[in-house]
Symmetry: C2
Subunit: 371 residues, 2 copies
Amino acid sequence: MRFASPPKGRFDMSNQVTLQTVADRVGVSRTTVSNAYNRPNELGAALRERILQAAAELGYRGPDAAARMLRSGHMGAIGLLFTEDLRFVFTDPDTTSFMQGVAETSALSGTGLTLLPAPPGVALSGTAVDSAAVDGHIVFSVADGDPALESVLSRNQPVVVVDEPDLGNRASFVGIDDRAGARLAAQHLLDLGHTHLAVLLGRLTSETRSGHVGTDRERTATMRIARERIAGYRSAVVDAGLDETSLVLWEAGGNDPDSARRAAVDLIEAHPTVTGLLCFNDQIAIGASQAGQLVGRHIPDDLSLVGFDDVPRALTWDPPLTTIRQPLVDKGRVAADLLLKEIHGGPPRRAILPIELVVRASTAPPLARVD
Amino acid sequence: MRFASPPKGRFDMSNQVTLQTVADRVGVSRTTVSNAYNRPNELGAALRERILQAAAELGYRGPDAAARMLRSGHMGAIGLLFTEDLRFVFTDPDTTSFMQGVAETSALSGTGLTLLPAPPGVALSGTAVDSAAVDGHIVFSVADGDPALESVLSRNQPVVVVDEPDLGNRASFVGIDDRAGARLAAQHLLDLGHTHLAVLLGRLTSETRSGHVGTDRERTATMRIARERIAGYRSAVVDAGLDETSLVLWEAGGNDPDSARRAAVDLIEAHPTVTGLLCFNDQIAIGASQAGQLVGRHIPDDLSLVGFDDVPRALTWDPPLTTIRQPLVDKGRVAADLLLKEIHGGPPRRAILPIELVVRASTAPPLARVD
DNA sequence: ATCAATTACTGAATCGATACAGTAACTTTC
DNA sequence: GAAAGTTACTGTATCGATTCAGTAATTGAT
């Protein structure tokens, strides 16, 4: 939808109250009124009081945002870029927790938060994504080379990338050690005695694809996190002396439980000897657990499940999920904090947040089986 | 947190590329370049191509947002005001579904979406809430007379209020017939044969309070929806010939399952004869169902539960919830749509969305009991 | 062939506020 | 009591783009 008629502008200038109006009323200069709002200690308290008083009487609401932005060059807002489908953005607990953290920190600093949805396949030009009035951007988990990311980077403003991609020194970064986290998850299953593991991933690229992941597909992965976690899972398997190729990689086609459930059914059918399933996140693990129920596999006796993230539901799910905890809300807070600091002149930084294996009831030693 | 140092402004003017730069390069006037971006059919296609080409070469990213805003008076963004705690905003399925709808519609129209969190007890002045660069506001479910709402209204821009309060002709409105919905819910329980009903509300005011709601407390309610629903529940009870005072009103102190669970335990203890519980929304019903389990009441045999909203989880919950469905995502879409239309010169409107009783497994006739 | 209408462009004024240099009045210092 | 410093203000240039009145060139109508 694009509107034919432009929005009503500021063209009823008749009774516009501006800084000048207030200045005239009080009998001071425009500058002094501006200072009354922005630099309270550059003028006497009594005068300031008189000015604010007059402003209130005239119904003046404070300096016009657009004019201030133009002159001062700062927008008082940060942008939050997503490239996922909006249905996903507002449903996925990882994403909403992250947003909560960002919103908390930006609200505390009095900074506005502008959402910049750039779902795949929608043109960017003329949208908020390339013209939003913001001082910097947080980019949340985007595939390598995404056009929306390029657009954001070309604005030459501070950017904080969260999770992926890793732009090196082109932008600040907030994330975790995904490889180590994945390794921790796999190690846990290996320690329990599992020898037949599989990985159930959400997506390797921004396109939806599901099913077995061969080396060809793996090589095309544009999601950094997926690549890192695969490397982590694999390194634990290799170090345990198992054959690297014995680690089955399977793609769900989405990070939601429904996609995961469907994919897990196929995976279990194709690889019935697998007893330990490494899930890309808790939503995937939830789907996998539903799949287990569907195909008659008891969790954890017939199939152990390790999630990732430790979303609130991981604790209340039946069975409660063993998972790798990462501080999602903090991630949002830290991202906003780094961005705000950088906007105010600080240097770009990298923040790696801690992770932790949380053992609950979705993992157990494999049942002894007659091979 | 407030930053001492102002953000770095636009004071490295050295190699700023502006409309003028592009105009000089091509050898046309500033106006023509502006037209190339904003009014493509006001100039020849070939010239337009040359201009865009030159802009690309110069790395010009299109008209500066702040300058455009100042001159044209329109911001290209809408604000979304919340007064709930941010933890709640991003966790509550009603709210996130609504946000999804708003985000979808604003993204489609190329309009930015600025989040304006105004949790209680945080000063407004100087924050994004009273100075955000937006063309209008959507106000989501706010208590009567909230200061953030007043601040938004004083900007003399289009406002769409969702659910509450009802400002009459001071603002556009999107909501449902809450009274009818509540009536439908109560009627369903009455039809099943229940004679001892209670209402478990989230909150009647923006302050947190839990426990029995007497007439005094009821009279102070500042949340319109709560008042309407109470009236609806009560009207069904009265029309069924039951004593109006037999309808127990109980406040949970929050719209989350945890608050509801705790409150429901107390409620059941205080009023053990109640067999039908009218829950303010599905989150409350989920909490109540957990409470039922805690105190050994089987749902629906020992206690029937009716929710409200029909969030996705209502279907997958055990037992699946009987509820009043309202189109939450649509509500967001409609709100954004009304606001955009009003910004573009349309009149204020009221939209009342449809509701529907969805009968699932959380309600059943009361067990015959020996009184 | 003439006048009117349309198209494609230009130049100047303007939006409202902020930055910055400048200044008058007042205070401190020795 | 003169020089130096501080405080509290003013005046002007400026931010970058859009609007609008106007003009020259082209097309169309009669």
